[in-house]
Amino acid sequence: MRNHHFHLQYFGFYDLDGMGRHLEKMAARGWMLEKMTTFGWHYRRMEPKRLRFTVTYHDTFSVFDPEQSEGQQEYQDLCRQSGWEVAAANGPLQAFYTEDEDAPPIETDPRLFLDTVERLAKKTLSPDILLLVLSVLEACMLTGSLLHSPIRLLSSTASLVTAICWLSILVDTSITLFFYWQWHRKAIIAAAAGKFLPVRNHRRFRVALTLATVGVFYVIIASRPSGYGVLFLGILAGMLPVFLLPAMVHGILKRKGVLAGVNKKWTRITSFGSCLLVMVLQCMLVFSIVNNPAFYLEPEDLDAPLTVADLTGGDAEHAVHQVYLERSALLDHYTYTVEAPSGGDASLPKLSYEIVDLHVPFFYTLCQNELHSHEAAFPTFYLPAPPIADTTKVYALYVPSESLCRFLFCWENWIVELCAHWILTNEQLETAARLLAP
């Protein structure tokens, strides 16, 4: 049977009551709080007991102090006198317990408690407010991309992962700030009446949001080759030093008894330095992968559904083929072009087409509109054309001054934009539509 236990804690910073109730439940199950750290709480095995717990916060006690300050010792002595023993302390946060059901509470003034929470909120919520602003800006940019270039956005796994990250941050910070604002408003009224206001914790919501985000990540990454999963885990693992290095430096300096101010300075320098280092290393990693030829598919690895030879019957062997394929869980985007090499036969017909294969029909209209507006600025525009083969709709681009043949073929969840640099005959159009069909 294990004698030690660790878990992360998801309580809101002002839910000291919730923390206390949680510790009481743990004590009833035989676990006593032993240590509180930035990453979570450590417990040790004990005989199950019914205990009362109170968690308090006092901002003059610093996590950087090499040992307990005199003020902190006096604070704990006063608590001890009224029957409360210290379970664990981590700078300003302290947990006390008592077996005495009649021991007076440690905090008895609601207005004073609210003042403490307000000071704590200024420190804790500033990063949340910054993240909220950034995530709103990012959401606006993503919305713009979704409306103007949905195919590029939805076919890119990296863009989808980034979008999910920012969406989660937006939801989490909005909920955190909203719940705090709502509680604070009511707590002021309660404090004026001499009462404490309990906190409605949204811990389960935050856990559910984290699990949902991880689940969506998994679905998005799983649709890609396994190398992407490894890359993603590598990027995540690479972020660990950002948290671990400053914590290590802080712990080492504290054990050596270094002054609080010096400890704080070096911890901050390490934090900044590790962020910078991780950012540079990850950029180098992504850059080296993206520029690795093995990352790209060779044209001969893909069977082009339509070639120039299918339409003209001619020999396009010496032509330059370019194939570009971007895939994600939401859609596949396939671009194929063929043209003469530089200095080669200029009379070789040029052909290009884009295929959009939607896995989620919801985005069909957005993608169709994007292709519809491709180079369709005045004086060119798409006109409806008679259906060809088994297409649901066909559009032909009217270009007044060039001999350019551009068509948009639409099927259910499958859209193709075809561009030929010669005027296609009806037979050639039928062949193209037949070969490009899903």
Binding site: H58, Y75, Q81, E107, D109, R111
Partner: protein, 107 residues
């Protein structure tokens, strides 16, 4: 507009100042207040610590002695003035109450 700090005193602030007319240490303050009020007013250890710190910062009490981990405090003239003001405010409230109740009783 936020209320100026210590413009009016809460019950706990009032009894802490009252207790510190004489030099006392933090541990004795809790017992004294409870005994003086017959257990009606109980000051939590955390609240007491915070209030002693705030009173010191406001110059209403002063640290007089440190013996190991025991710190003793005493009220200053500024604290005495605030206590007196609060007492007079409470007396006015009590007088208003008596006057209104007597008016209601007299036909």
């Amino acid at each position: 507009m936020p209320r100026e700090k210590f413009q009016t005193l809460t019950e706990q602030m009032y009894y802490i100042l009252l207790c510190l007319r004489e030099e006392r240490c933090g541990m004795d303050i809790m017992d004294w207040v409870s005994a003086c009020t017959g257990g009606r007013v109980r000051i939590g250890a955390g609240t007491l610590y915070n209030l002693l710190e705030q009173f010191c910062d406001a110059g209403m009490i002063v640290l007089t002695r440190i013996e190991g981990r025991r710190r003793s405090y005493r009220m200053t003239s500024k604290g005495a003035e605030a206590l007196q003001k609060e007492y007079e405010r409470l007396c006015c409230q009590a007088a208003d109450f008596r006057r209104v109740m007597e008016e209601e009783e007299t036909p």
